[in-house]
């Protein structure tokens, strides 16, 4: 049970960190300055959520007994074992290998064009809002507090990304073709959001979540002149650490400093 909470925490944190890191790639490359700043502000929010979750995961681990810690050996970063100190948030973010990351695949896909990044954010924020609304009522007071705090931020993310989906879908021929292409590429990655991993709390009602998510998507798509794709085949694996080829490159860049100069600070 305890071990599952730790895994679940890492999964939530990895989702936020990986998508935050991806969005941050837009820094200095957005179509206009204000929107560049908007997306990187969303990155900052996600990074903050990830930090809260990693801090909680680390404190859980440090409080576990030997047997519980042993059960989680597969997720603990190897370099940390030689540090002889308690586990910290940065160890979890900067020292775990690709197979130890539990984020959903949709968060790690390369940024693509503006349509791809905003549509991905919309799919993810719509899901995160529903997920955190459930988590806010969780029995674990720490997770409930993190969810309560994050929800206010997610509300802004959802609004901003939803507006972009409508703007692009109901825009010009060019913008419509871009977002249609992004939709085709992203859709097979949305189903993983609703496939439950063994460590996810069984109180999360996945079918209810999925129905509510579909409703939100359909509502915005109707305004955006987009159609909900028919196919129901989906990519999975991220929640168990089986990733696309893209995650390794992201981690190599993000983790470079701590791996090259262990425990460096500034």
């Amino acid at each position: 049970m305890n071990a599952n909470t730790f895994r679940y925490c890492l999964h939530l944190a990895d989702n936020a960190l990986v998508l935050g890191q991806r969005n941050a790639e837009w820094t200095g490359h957005g179509p206009v300055l204000e929107q560049d700043i908007a997306l990187t502000n969303i990155s900052l929010d996600l990074l903050g959520q990830a930090r809260n979750l990693y801090q909680y995961a680390a404190s859980l681990y440090n409080g576990f007994n030997k047997a519980e810690q042993q059960e989680l050996a597969d997720l603990i970063p190897r370099p940390w074992k030689s540090y002889n100190r308690e586990l910290q948030e940065d160890d979890l973010a900067y020292l775990r290998d690709e197979r130890q990351f539990l984020n959903v695949l949709i968060t790690e896909l390369p940024i693509g064009d503006w349509a791809f990044s905003t549509l991905r954010q919309f799919f993810f924020s719509a899901f995160q809002q529903l997920q955190y609304q459930q988590l806010e009522k969780a029995a674990d007071p720490h997770l409930a507090a993190i969810a309560e705090k994050s929800l206010k931020e997610v509300t802004y993310h959802l609004r901003w990304s939803g507006e972009w989906v409508i703007r692009l879908g109901d825009g010009t021929e060019e913008s419509y073709s871009r977002i249609s292409k992004a939709l085709k590429a992203l859709w097979p990655y949305t189903g993983e959001l609703f496939s439950r991993a063994a460590y996810e709390p069984s109180t999360d009602r996945m079918p209810t979540l999925e129905a509510a998510w579909m409703e939100k998507i359909a509502h915005v798509f109707a305004e955006a002149r987009l159609e909900v794709p028919a196919g129901d085949w989906h990519q999975t694996g991220g929640k168990e650490g089986r990733h696309t080829e893209h995650l390794g490159y992201l981690l190599a860049e993000m983790q470079y400093l701590q791996r090259t100069y262990p425990n460096a600070t500034w």
Partner: protein
């Protein structure tokens, strides 16, 4: 939301007053008490000299990723050390989540004087509905004839607006 608890001790009230001197590093006209991020002040062992008194301060972040929180914690610690408190603990608390409703009226007028439109009350506008613009008066010419440029601005807690009368762009400390 910042009113000093009438049952708090004189030492605690003194610390509340000291905290008014600690500024938000991102918006230096606001103190941490104006912002409403100080959730509790507790002083234990009142009979001992100041330097041995145990001071426990609870703060809450405005946004999860607010990079100013570490600086704010340090500034609070330094301020109290400067005033003779040596045993200071600062704790972060996430729930209940911070809201702009906790900002003091004084804080709101300081913001406005600084050129940042203060947050509207939450009950007036805090929605995820799309393409809805909040009526924000220009902090310079008071005109409501303004438009949203971006929901996100120089920091996570602000949005960017433009006044259509005096043509100036300005920050709006958005409702949260």
């Amino acid at each position: 939301m910042n009113e000093v608890n009438p049952h708090s001790s004189i030492a605690e009230q003194e610390i509340w007053t000291l905290l008014e001197e600690v500024k938000d590093p991102e918006v230096p006209v606001l103190s941490v008490t104006d912002l409403g991020i100080i959730r509790a002040v507790m002083v234990k062992a009142l009979s001992v000299p100041k330097k041995d008194q145990e001071v426990l301060i609870t703060i809450t972040p405005t946004y999860s990723g607010c990079p100013a929180m570490d600086v704010i914690s340090m500034d609070i610690r330094l301020k109290l050390i400067e005033k003779g408190y040596r045993n200071v603990q600062i704790r972060q608390q996430l729930s209940p989540a911070w809201t702009t409703d906790w900002m003091t009226e004084e804080g709101k007028s300081k913001l406005k004087a600084y050129g940042i439109a203060p947050p509207n009350p939450r009950q007036q506008y805090c929605t995820s509905d799309m393409f809805r613009e909040e009526a924000v008066p220009c902090p310079r010419c008071q005109s409501y004839h303004t438009e949203l440029i971006s929901q996100f601005a120089s920091t996570a807690c602000k949005a960017m607006y433009r006044c259509l009368d005096c043509r100036e762009a300005f920050d709006y400390f958005k409702c949260h």
